[in-house]
Symmetry: C2
Subunit: 204 residues, 2 copies
């Protein structure tokens, strides 16, 4: 075989992957996750279904990769490193900014359908759930914990607080409102959570 087939194959492969990701995201948004199949994704992407099975064992894996790719592209377009958390020295303001951005993202229809489908699949399928958490959620939580540790160094958070648990006071309420539709997601709500978590609900 001539040498140049390798780069051609690689370019073809990148094009196929993009088409597969786009097809998976479109189908989940249009007909829902339960009715989306590997066959349907293959047909829409214009590839054979064996091409998909060669790279991914299940439709959940295709959708997870597609969603990670979408997230990375969105961050790139916004000119950000993914999941950046500001450190202006004002912890309350920084956390409000992070939480308000999370609200905007959770309400964005392009993210809503695939994120909800992956979260639902992850509840029943423990392996998918662990991968979803490890690849999508944990990297953000680690940055959040790092910001809280910096706040401990500057005295804005008590030294005896566990940052990994503390971050759940404002991250988890947002996640649950989104996942289970237990209440509206707004910037005002995000701000309130940050205030309660920092200063507590008991009188000072």
């Amino acid at each position: 075989m001539p040498d140049k087939t390798a780069p051609d194959a690689s370019r073809r492969s990148t094009r196929s992957r993009s088409a597969i990701y786009a097809a998976a995201l479109a189908l989940v948004a249009e007909i829902g996750y339960p009715r989306t199949t590997i066959e349907g994704i293959a047909a829409r992407a214009g590839v054979g279904k064996q091409t998909i099975y060669r790279w991914w064992p299940s439709k959940a894996d295709v959708l997870l990769e597609a969603f990670l790719d979408l997230s990375a592209q969105a961050a790139g377009q916004a000119g950000q490193a993914p999941y950046e958390i500001p450190d202006t020295g004002d912890l309350a303001a920084d956390l409000r900014a992070v939480l308000r951005a999370a609200v905007d993202r959770l309400l964005d229809p392009a993210f809503e359908a695939p994120a909800r489908a992956l979260a639902a699949e992850g509840l029943l399928n423990e392996q998918v759930g662990r991968e979803f958490v490890a690849r999508l959620l944990e990297p953000r939580l680690r940055l959040c914990a790092r910001r809280l540790r910096a706040a401990q160094d500057s005295g804005a958070v008590r030294a005896d607080v566990d940052p990994r648990i503390a971050l759940e006071l404002f991250v988890s309420p947002l996640a649950q409102r989104w996942l289970q539709r237990t209440g509206p997601l707004t910037h005002a709500y995000a701000d309130t959570l940050v205030g309660y978590a920092l200063y507590g609900i008991a009188p000072r």
Copy 2:
């Protein structure tokens, strides 16, 4: 028709319902929610599938009723009104007791499979999600909000705090750890959440 057929039919109907609930809970625990079908539930319960369709439009509805029945029975056996929240006058101790009981319940295998299946179905199917939240989650959250309002009257919680948002600081982290397996659920974790929520993570 003789008069006594009505009570007979009613007893038969109660027996059928119990058998259907037991079959639905057993199948979800044994083979998982996605593979559980109305036909399978009917076969296991020893009833015709039309009997099930007469009472419930979908397997999600059967499972929701079965789970509500299981919860009511468990509360009855423990001699409790469902979802009781103590008011000993010590808010921190009362919230720790409620949260520790929630941890025990979330780790109970009899509740785990159906509760997780309903939560997952509720993520994708908005109608099931709203019913799950309205009938299972909201009644507990309302009692929790009522306990926080009593604490506002006694001065243990600031008057300007919104109880419905405040309760999410300790309820939602527990829910998310359970739903997404983001960390271990223990009594120590429950106690830590209550402490952070009451007194905040900033120095006092």
